[in-house]
């Protein structure tokens, strides 16, 4: 049954020591969490697709920023501002390197992946889309891209077409070949689905889009943290991801865009740091990437994201991927042993680091509550893919998602909790 690796290429015990929160013990009794209660069970954190935990090196890089060179960036002549500016600019270089971009001109720091989608939808979509134009999405889009393009399309009169998902959780590539036509201006798709675990063929979709002259926006929120990714290989025009899902801090996300395209785009947020010159009548804009970074940017967060890139590259993204896929495959196998459990998405040996599932007759929120009684942290809901869940015929699903510090024993704890729920509700 299990066709995937059983062993991990990572020294997980050593890695776990870098994440103080993994030593957390939480109350076995869900009904009165927190203070005053015995926190008696070791946390099993399986909600990594929502947010990853943060290693010491990342947190300390930010404390170090605040404690030794905190200053506003750009144009400051004094020492601290110079140090902060260099650190802030180098964070762009580091992220560019991390995803194989040409340089800092292609890296815009935003607040999260969602803002990256909106930036392009506003700055490019509002002016370029119109009646007769088509935006192609997938049925498995996250609301970050689905709602954004849907609403911008509504405002501009453009049409949205959703690529179908097959019974077994793959993108229907026949539909893709048909739908991506001459009227298509933008193809925006999730690289690794945060609900199904599906890994979409990014380069192939990019080819289809480029053949008809459309732009390609890759939602890398789940892929950048979990596998080696090179924007040149995919040949995407835009890529969005978030710091907090890749061992980095909250409050920062990244928009990658090809320089020539970003160059053509008008800015979207206005203010300080993004202007070249201003008078009372009009303004001109700064060079890339600053043109898109209005106001004081997330400086400490950029320092933290730099540290997160270092941290992940030191481990090696291939090994992170192997480890996670081993866990996802194992969880898939164990959960599908239960007749009354439905696991969504592709087979266990062909999926990203997560497993979305439902237990017959038990609402996913109840299942999540019961897992929490075992200190097993999973997410339940529609995972910001409400339309996809409608097509799955499920209002909600439970989702366990894995990262580099998770273990097979933690998967076992999940399975035990699910089994308890089965018996409780039987």
């Amino acid at each position: 049954m299990a066709t995937h690796e059983q062993t991990s290429p990572l020294d997980v015990e050593a890695l776990r020591a870098e994440f103080p929160v993994l030593e957390r013990r939480v109350g076995g009794d869900v009904t009165s969490p927190g203070e005053g209660e015995d926190d008696d069970q070791p946390l099993v954190y399986l909600d990594n697709a929502a947010t990853s935990q943060t290693p010491r090196a990342v947190v300390e890089s930010m404390s170090d920023y605040y404690y030794s060179y905190n200053a506003n960036v750009h144009r400051g002549i004094h020492h601290l501002s110079q140090e902060a500016s260099v650190a802030y600019e180098e964070a762009h270089d580091r992220v560019a390197e991390f995803i194989g971009a040409e340089g800092r001109e292609e890296i815009v720091f935003v607040k999260n992946a969602t803002e990256a989608e909106n930036l392009v939808a506003y700055a490019w979509g509002l002016s370029e889309l119109g009646p007769g134009d088509k935006v192609v999405l997938t049925q498995m889009e996250h609301h970050a891209s689905l709602v954004t393009w849907q609403q911008i399309a509504k405002q501009t009169g453009a049409e949205v077409e959703y690529l179908r998902v097959t019974e077994d959780g793959y993108l229907d590539m026949d539909h893709a070949r048909e739908a991506i036509d001459e009227s298509t201006e933008m193809v925006s798709f999730v690289h690794v689905s945060n609900a199904l675990g599906t890994i979409n063929p990014a380069a192939e979709l990019a080819d289809l889009a480029h053949e008809v002259g459309a732009y390609v926006f890759v939602d890398g929120a789940q892929s950048v943290p979990t596998r080696p990714l090179d924007v040149g290989e995919i040949d995407c025009d835009f890529l969005a991801f978030s710091g907090h899902k890749m061992c980095g801090p909250t409050g920062i996300g990244v928009l990658y865009g090809k320089e020539a395209i970003l160059e053509e785009m008008d800015p979207y947020l206005y203010g300080g740091e993004m202007i070249r010159s201003v008078d009372y009548e009009d303004s001109t804009w700064e060079e890339l990437p600053w043109k898109f970074e209005a106001g004081t940017p997330p400086i400490a967060e950029a320092v933290g994201l730099h540290a997160a890139c270092d941290y992940l590259d030191d481990i090696g993204l291939e090994r992170v991927q192997d480890h996670e896929e081993m866990l996802a495959g194992y969880a898939y196998d164990r959960l599908t042993e239960f007749d009354d459990v439905t696991v969504y998405g592709p087979p266990g040996d062909d999926r990203g680091a997560l497993v979305g599932f439902n237990l017959d007759g038990v609402h996913a929120h109840d299942l999540s509550s019961i897992c929490n009684d075992y200190a097993v942290a999973i997410r339940a809901g529609d995972h910001c893919t409400q339309p996809l869940h409608d097509t799955l015929g499920a209002a909600a699903s439970a989702r366990a998602s894995f990262y580099l510090y998770n273990t097979r024993e933690e998967v076992d704890a999940l399975v035990e909790a699910v089994d308890d729920a089965r018996q409780l509700f039987a």
Partner: protein, 137 residues
């Protein structure tokens, strides 16, 4: 069974599995529906009042998590004989008492859905509010 079953004590599971007062009333004085979007819970309550404004019959239909459905079942079992004012005076602690367990903060919205739906329905009926659909988020 594991250690984690407080929120799902037998009584709650029993009401979830065998909901009391489930169904629709033939000629309700008022009906009102609502949802708790966080769990996707839905509840609709039908109420018949007598001439003194006392609740004579109550039923509910719905779909959702165990907490929301059990709370609806338990609450509707308590409403007959109350006046609309008494219904209005209920608060979330009354429902939590009925459930007999501590409910975690994120699940309180499930627990109070039926109560809010019934109260909003009564308010709409009396012309005191214009709530189309109740929501507990």
């Amino acid at each position: 069974m594991g250690m984690g079953s407080d929120m799902y004590r037998q009584q709650i599971l029993d009401h979830y599995r065998n909901p009391r007062n489930y169904g629709e009333l033939p000629d309700p004085t008022f009906s009102h529906a609502g949802e708790n979007p966080s769990c996707g819970d839905e509840i609709r309550v039908d109420v018949t009042l007598n001439d003194d404004g006392v609740i004579e019959r109550v039923s509910f239909t719905g779909d959702g998590c165990a907490i929301s459905q059990a709370a609806a079942s338990m609450l509707t079992s308590e409403l007959v004989g109350l006046t609309v004012d008494e219904l209005d005076a209920l608060d979330r602690d009354d429902v939590l008492d009925l459930l007999g367990v501590d409910v975690t903060p994120m699940r309180v919205k499930c627990a109070v859905l039926a109560e809010k739906v019934a109260q909003d329905g009564a308010r709409v009926h009396r012309g005191e509010a214009a709530v189309d659909r109740t929501t507990t988020e």
